[in-house]
Point group: C2
Chain length 613, copies 2
Amino acid sequence: MSESDHSPEPAAARAELDRCDDAGLIRPAPPSTRTADRERLDVWGFADSAFRINANDAVEMTGDRYSLAGVELPDLLPWMNRVLGAQLDRRVVNRSQYPPAIPEPRRNPAFASELQKFLCDDAICDDPRIRLRHGHGHSQEEMYCIKYARPVRLPDVVVYPSQPEHVESLVGAALRHGVCLIPYGGGTNVTHALMCPADEERMIVSVDMSRMNRILWIDPYNRMACIEAGAVGREIVEQLAESGFTMGHEPDSIEFSTLGGWIATHASGMKKNRYGNIEDLVLDITAVTAEGELSRSSVAPRESVGIDHRRWLYGSGGNLGIVTSAIVKIFPTPEVQRYESVIFRTFEDGFAFLYDLTRHSVPPASVRLVDNLQFQFSMALKPASMGPRALKRKLEKLYITRVRGFDPAEMVACTLVFEGSREEVEAQQSALFRIARKHGGLKAGSENGKRGYELTFAIAYIRDFVMEYYLLAESFETSVVWSEVLVLCANVKRRVREEHAARGLPGEPFISCRITQVYSAGVCIYFYFAYYYRGVENPSAVFAEVERAARDEVLRCGGSLSHHHGIGKLRQEFLPEVMSDAMLEWNRRIKKAVDPHNVFGSSNQGVGGPTPD
Amino acid sequence: MSESDHSPEPAAARAELDRCDDAGLIRPAPPSTRTADRERLDVWGFADSAFRINANDAVEMTGDRYSLAGVELPDLLPWMNRVLGAQLDRRVVNRSQYPPAIPEPRRNPAFASELQKFLCDDAICDDPRIRLRHGHGHSQEEMYCIKYARPVRLPDVVVYPSQPEHVESLVGAALRHGVCLIPYGGGTNVTHALMCPADEERMIVSVDMSRMNRILWIDPYNRMACIEAGAVGREIVEQLAESGFTMGHEPDSIEFSTLGGWIATHASGMKKNRYGNIEDLVLDITAVTAEGELSRSSVAPRESVGIDHRRWLYGSGGNLGIVTSAIVKIFPTPEVQRYESVIFRTFEDGFAFLYDLTRHSVPPASVRLVDNLQFQFSMALKPASMGPRALKRKLEKLYITRVRGFDPAEMVACTLVFEGSREEVEAQQSALFRIARKHGGLKAGSENGKRGYELTFAIAYIRDFVMEYYLLAESFETSVVWSEVLVLCANVKRRVREEHAARGLPGEPFISCRITQVYSAGVCIYFYFAYYYRGVENPSAVFAEVERAARDEVLRCGGSLSHHHGIGKLRQEFLPEVMSDAMLEWNRRIKKAVDPHNVFGSSNQGVGGPTPD
């Protein structure tokens, strides 16, 4: 093959080939365990990073992991208090009661003794806090529960398989001894998929996939990689980058979520415009089911082989089996990555820009439009500036508001990530800015763009921080066709305000949205809802009620039940509203057909259920 | 919404809006039935088009539908005879015996009387030739059988539902009266999916979807259309074009195949580089199953709603239910469509070009690479040229062979379709020709490119034509990763030659390949196999043996069982080689779970089977 003769990067290509074995594959070492990357058990994220209120009554973030860290954020609390009609104050704290009382584990001695035949002692764990951590994801209700309430049912043991045979042995033992298995990836689920069914009488085993976290091989020629299901997003990014590649899949949870989790939830990545969503990236899936291993003899770029197990496992939510590895597409690290941002006078203008962008150009890898409230929020997250920097900001603001007439209470921002060859990026940029100008858009700089994306990761820590100051917050998402977007956004916001008012809750609700993905037929919309719960009884349950009402409104407006979070147990009650009876019956029958003893008993999506029949 | 203010085509947009109803939808009239589009029952295609050998011993095509029609093709027979070591001659004919003896239909009076409650008389047909036509697709074995052998089992009646309720009633009646249903779209299947199981004791009902052929609505704003499953490709193209749109899905069978068939076979379109394959185009599917209608309350651009019936129906091959309609993405008619072609010295050069094309540019809507034998075949299909035209061809040939040193026995051709905006197409073209030059490619003109694509449709008629002159021919396809392409092509050709020789078959086999699709990870390869069967006993069975051996070789070389034709009954024997036992068991269990009485008894993919248990 003459390919290497003609490659425009002969040196790079040769270096790549040097790393390949005889089969043309790169076999990376296992990812190294860094103590700095230790995670907290009681709140979101890395142990080195957290928000706090300092002695100056300003918010700051610890550590040096995120760009927000190490500086005072003096505007945040005053802004939040104003918007929420709240009194967030370092002296008024609802101190976390973590850890809660943890129920005693149920024992299944026959199963336990079989476990020891194939797992080392250090791969079996019944530490109460570890069991607790494996019994929840990161929804508002779950996080409130572990800090202020009492979990009813938790995994009785956590096991750590390190090879597919362990998973097969686990399933075999579970079948023989009447045990329930719940797979666990990064623990970032937000649909109660990890929550144990309260009335599950069997021993519940959480199958933690973190030791199956290797990239087994990278095939640079065919641009594929075989990756174990427990591999964490940030490690996949790092390890592929060392060989000059990216998978391009970057959900907001990428620091912690896993390949197996992405498949089981049918995940979407921020840069899907360039790389596709999980179903576009995965070429093959290997999984262990009650019937044995689902696997195939070879991988192909695209196939028509009839009823196809790969398609069933997307969104399966741990109900049908445990994904052990997948073969995914990979892409060369892009020549250029560029952040940008554009501001518009109104959300409607920004929306019209997005619509035109999909109609008259190739949208960049990522494009997001935040509404005015989120725009204000990101302003409130800016550190204090002094000297020339403060002057510059002030002048910029004056220019935008006085000269260009943008209203700070209306304007919105769009953040952008361009990736590709220099040519591609330049063509995309110039087309985009031309369209933006038509809608009155003003370039707001690459720094603001980059900041918008960086904030995503830091903001994830805020929810647990503010929970201790009587604020409950959560996001929920949907997808909807273009024609219904503006109505849906307006109606959901109105509905949340009405529900908040009807309950006489304190202050004002925070309800904001952003458009995070664009498609030919429509968009993905993320909502953020928060409310001040001081003095409210059962605040978490009240939150859930309002969120449920918001979901009802989403469905009324033609929105989907979920764009990428999935159903889990959180949204299963809505399934009869969106699927015909026959579909629901199919789901139940298929579950029963392939897992008759309900060994994968997480009971998500309304199938399975705690007592097999 | 300010979109229309900013649209670059305000007049077009306004014209479009004028055609919309209050819901913003265009509702096209039913497609008109043109007598000119009558199809033949005994051979492929339209009744007005066929090949024949004229009094000058030259081949010609009747009618005026195809560019090949109405001119003598003097080189074709001599070339075929040389390549095949055959004596194709108008005086040596194996005259078609069509129609064969047609078995008496089985009756199920209770079912028949229920039918009459919801179907008009003209929607129920037991005409023997119509029953015959509904019992086969267009594989070599099936077409040989209806002309020279005797079908064992045929549909006992053909019904023509014209609304979803008819399909529901049919399924209900079939369940109550023990009847087997086989859906029928365009009748172009090539995997024996339409073949009736020989030992099916129940009455077999062919459900012809041709009266459910409407585009129910076009939503120009959200770029979606809702189309009934029986709509035929060419009519979808025409009707969408009237509103300025295209679905972009163009399988080689597009003149006859249907949307429902595309979903049931997991089809691929020639222009998938721009528009995607069927799974990329379909947003929602409605289907009738043994359990009732699978349907959803609304359509969204992308969703995560757990186990999802849409994904099960792709490739379901009529086993799980009958697709009644789908919502698909649509795209504006491209500003520019341009054909091109490039020739290369060798297949290896052409392959290296394709590889680089996917690595260093955005491939055009379609790119195909034919090997030398197919290149020669397309030359042999040229009409006689005279005068200045003949001189020009001669000079071109001299330039290519003498000046540029291309060997006519080695050179290959790549045909291209570009679609998009003028800018896009120009950028793609210049990148493509730059890469082609690196691999020694020479531009061969847009006329040759266009001709290559047009030939696809005309060539489909050749198989039935040559069958009467003792030539059996068939294509089969696979997909494979880039690194295995050249080895696979070489090995399959070698294997076919070996199998042909080992059987002492007359002359030489015709075995040729082309690459018809490119992906990031690999390609789709089409093989064409033909042999001269004069004096051969059971020639069709012998053909099938050789094809089976070729398929075995494909699998040995890492190729998939099928890229887009599917499994049907033709390839089900290979399933255990490519899928683990658990996968096959899942397929059986799922079929049994959702269709316990095997009402959809086509018995494809090795599930179901004629006797329900």
